[in-house]
């Protein structure tokens, strides 16, 4: 059978000593990059790019891929421990993961995140081995109209995300949308809300807002309150999920993996939705939905599985079509081109060892990550028992370094401080930053895809419902919106929102 021959070729390539070593270097670097807040994967990959020119193409790609999915693991660590999401995908993990850490369950949260990610990684490796070429072709079915409708669905789902008042959530989404407008309009080149500041011409970087709102805002709020100043308010209980936890996480992991592997296929922002979508889904279907936002283990398991699945499946359009799903993939295409390999459908037939080697290395990489991360959990958990007056200056310094390194600009550091203040005020007002970040990420994409869809259809708005895919997505969004709003008309409104 082809599948086994292919996998065998993949294993023999990825398990060679050299490739295994580069895989290790990659996932190790990736974990480090993910743990250090702000230091982004694209920058790391770009800086290592020239160094990979001298490596054999397979080793180079295996290492670069390792950095990419290794960072997904690392990013969750800081999210859970210190509420600092350095990557878009770990914003959601912070919601319940950090609550778990505060309740002394940091070890369980970290282990759940590692197990969920590993499971998703394994499933996705198999999926890629079986269906990569047809799945890649599916990505092309998604045009601007379909993307727009998907984003609408994502935005509606973001309201479900909020654990407090729905009005606050809506307000935060709108603020996020408005912040997303800052920058240059892609169609006309006009500057919007840049206030004549040239650093704002490209818009605000996601990391600046995330570090400010989550990191600085959180620290400021903690300092004010002596009771919550320590990161762990309760004694650390267990580093490993117990029987009860296992029962609660297996289904969310499965659902997260499924959602993540579909959304990850879409170049152009699909993967960003994976963890948000998985969380929103769990919140609707879980029996323990009342605990969401207060340390529900399902709220860690599902998005972590989803973001790892999404990250891994985003290789499919790159390897099969030569279409990068995100900036890191674009850099990897650059690496392949320089190595004399043309990414595209030809890769599988012309470079089978490379294709299958990289695919299987993702699984071996996931094994390495599991082995690397599980023993570290004990260490991480000890780290947050460090007295807060030692810990918070360190977090501040790392945030500042990370944000500065985005584009070597002190302006970004100042902006982060500003968002820190904003984050503090919002925290006092009981407004959660997560819906705002989602609005910030999805808003500009939604606008771009809508305007492009209308441009391509010569201004005919029917283009949004003429495609069946787009029509279905909009219909789901409408149903979801009705479901969310329905209790608002009933008498149980207040209770429903407080509990949700």
């Amino acid at each position: 059978m082809d599948l086994f021959a292919n996998l065998a070729l993949g294993f023999s390539t990825s398990l060679s000593f050299t490739n295994l070593a580069y895989c290790f270097v990659g996932v190790f670097l990736g974990t480090a990059v993910g743990v250090l807040p702000g230091l982004g994967v694209p920058a790391t990959v770009a800086m290592l790019l020239p160094a990979t020119f001298v490596l054999p193409p397979v080793s180079a790609l295996i290492m670069l891929a390792g950095i990419f999915y290794g960072a997904q693991y690392g990013g969750s660590t800081t999210s859970i421990l210190v509420n600092l999401p350095g990557e878009t995908s770990s914003v959601i993990t912070a919601l319940d993961g950090h609550q778990m850490a505060r309740q002394g369950k940091a070890g369980r949260a970290l282990a759940t995140s590692a197990i969920g990610s590993f499971f998703a990684g394994t499933v996705c490796t198999l999926l890629m081995a079986m269906f990569a070429p047809p799945l890649g072709a599916m990505a092309l079915e998604f045009g601007p109209a379909e993307y727009f409708s998907l984003m609408v669905l994502g935005l509606v789902a973001s309201i479900v995300l909020a654990s407090g008042s729905i009005l606050h959530a809506l307000g935060m989404v709108v603020i996020g949308l408005l912040l997303g407008l800052v920058g240059t309009d892609v169609n006309s080149g006009a500057q919007r809300f840049a206030l004549g500041i040239s650093e704002l011409i490209d818009g605000i970087n996601f990391v600046v807002i995330a570090m400010g709102m989550f990191g600085l805002g959180e620290i400021a709020a903690n300092l004010q309150n002596a009771d919550t100043r320590e990161l762990t308010v309760k004694k650390v209980t267990g580093l490993w999920p117990d029987r009860e936890d296992w029962k609660r996480i297996w289904a969310p992991i499965l659902r997260g993996t499924a959602l993540g592997s579909v959304l990850g296929l879409l170049p152009g922002g699909g993967a960003a939705l994976a963890s948000f979508g998985a969380y929103a889904l769990e919140k609707k279907v879980s029996k323990n939905r009342a605990q969401f936002g207060k340390g529900a283990i399902e709220g860690v398991a599902a998005p972590e599985a989803a973001n790892n699945a999404g990250a891994q499946m985003s290789f499919v359009p790159m390897l099969t079509l030569g279409i990068p799903a995100n900036p890191v993939m674009a850099l990897m295409i650059g690496a392949m081109v320089i190595q004399g390999i043309q990414p595209g459908p030809g890769v599988i037939t012309e470079q089978p060892a490379l294709f299958w080697g990289v695919v299987v290395s993702m699984w071996t990489g996931n094994v390495i990550l599991l082995v690397l991360n599980l023993p570290l959990i004990g260490l991480w958990v000890k780290m947050i028992s460090v007295p807060y007056h030692f810990l918070y200056p360190m977090i501040l310094v790392f945030c500042a370094i990370g944000v500065f390194s985005l584009s070597n600009a002190t302006f970004d550091v100042h902006l982060m401080v500003l968002f820190g203040l904003v984050g503090y005020v919002f925290k006092k007002l009981d407004c959660e930053p997560a819906p705002m970040l989602l609005g910030f990420i999805l808003g500009p994409m939604m606008e771009e895809y809508l305007r492009r869809a209308l441009l391509l259809s010569m201004g005919d708005p029917m283009t949004l419902v003429n495609s069946p895919l787009s029509a279905i997505l909009l219909a789901i969004a409408a149903i979801l919106l009705v479901l969310v709003l329905l209790p608002a008309f009933g008498k149980t409104r207040e209770e429903a929102f407080q509990e949700n």
Binding site: P50, F142, I338, P345, S407
Partner: protein, 324 residues
């Protein structure tokens, strides 16, 4: 007494002005050189800067530190370079936008000619007219005729305001008399899926970004944008050859120093960078990525900047684009 102090000071100032400034051409360089890249890591000019920087460091005996300062269509980093000390310890690399942005941005804060001392012309990247295979055209004249017969299908992908891809499309519109609908994207990787799926008909993209799709047959190449054919695709006729006389679009770049950098230092850097560009490993890596390595004197690069500025001004005026 006071007067004499003043006189001494004046004399000292005069001496200082006459004496060779520290770090002059004979001893240059005596400290690390900062190499500004106004774009994020990973793009053509970043790869070039890192490859050349490595060779420069080896040949001049001082570290060369590549510093990425991306933002605002390369304007932020270029501004930083323009305002750095003209002592030879800050140099920078620019791309195609250098000769375009003057006409698209208000208050740039720098001038592409007056603010800089050109060191060397480093590279040119040709563009390829890539069409969806469903478009029934094999040559550029056939494509132009098809656009004229099907104005509702004349959808051209661009990489946003001021990009080489947009400028090339505007140049096509200006010279062929067709009416094209420009559909802006945020770069090649976003534009490719819609071109591959046939939602747009044409994308004039860099040879490095599109050649994979040409080879796989996902898109059809009908012309190369430079006056001469590209060594990377020697069988592809240029637009000029196919009857669009004088059509010449590309994205090119070079290395600059701030205006006022001593001539001797510019000459030394020019010689060293020319040497670096000729090293076989540098050439091989760049050509592999679709970047054609250039070289030559500072004066030649200055002349190119001047002629490119004039060329793009004409296109931008014809397209009616206003500075923002």
């Amino acid at each position: 007494m006071k007067l004499s102090t003043m006189a001494k000071l004046a004399a000292a100032a005069a001496c200082l002005a006459l004496a060779p400034i520290p770090g002059s051409a004979q001893t240059y360089p005596t400290k690390p050189i900062r190499f500004i890249v106004p774009a994020p890591p990973g793009g053509a000019i970043d790869i070039l800067a890192r490859l050349v920087g490595e060779k420069l460091a080896a040949s001049m005996g001082q570290p060369v530190i590549v510093e990425n300062k991306p933002g605002a269509s390369n304007n932020l980093g270029t501004d930083l370079l323009a305002k750095s000390a003209p002592d030879g310890y800050t140099i920078g690399i620019v791309g195609g936008s250098h000769n375009i942005n003057k006409y698209l941005f208000k208050d740039l804060g720098w001038d592409p000619e007056a603010s800089f001392a050109p060191i060397v012309y480093t590279h040119v990247v040709p563009l390829v007219f890539a069409i969806h295979p469903g478009v029934p055209a094999k040559t550029l004249p056939e494509l132009i005729a098809w656009f004229k017969a099907n104005p509702d299908k004349a959808k051209v992908a661009t990489s946003g305001r001021g990009s080489a891809q947009e400028m090339a499309a505007e140049m096509l519109q200006m010279m062929s008399g067709t009416k094209l609908l420009m559909v802006p994207y945020k770069g090649s990787s976003q534009a490719h899926p819609d071109l591959l799926a046939g939602r747009t008909a044409l994308y004039i993209d860099t040879i490095s970004a599109i050649q994979g799709h040409v080879k796989s047959g996902a898109v059809r190449a009908v012309a190369v944008s430079t006056a001469k054919r590209s060594p990377a695709m020697p069988n592809l006729a240029s637009a000029d050859e196919q009857g669009l006389k004088g059509y010449d679009a590309n994205t090119n770049g070079g290395i600059l120093a701030p205006a006022g950098t001593p001539k001797e230092i510019v000459a030394k850097l020019n010689a060293e960078i020319n040497k670096a560009l000729k090293q076989p490993d540098v050439t091989a890596k760049l050509e592999g990525a679709g970047i054609q390595v250039q070289g030559g004197s500072p004066a030649e690069y200055a002349a190119l900047i001047k002629s490119d500025l004039a060329k793009w001004k004409k296109v931008i005026d014809a397209a009616g684009l206003q500075p923002e």
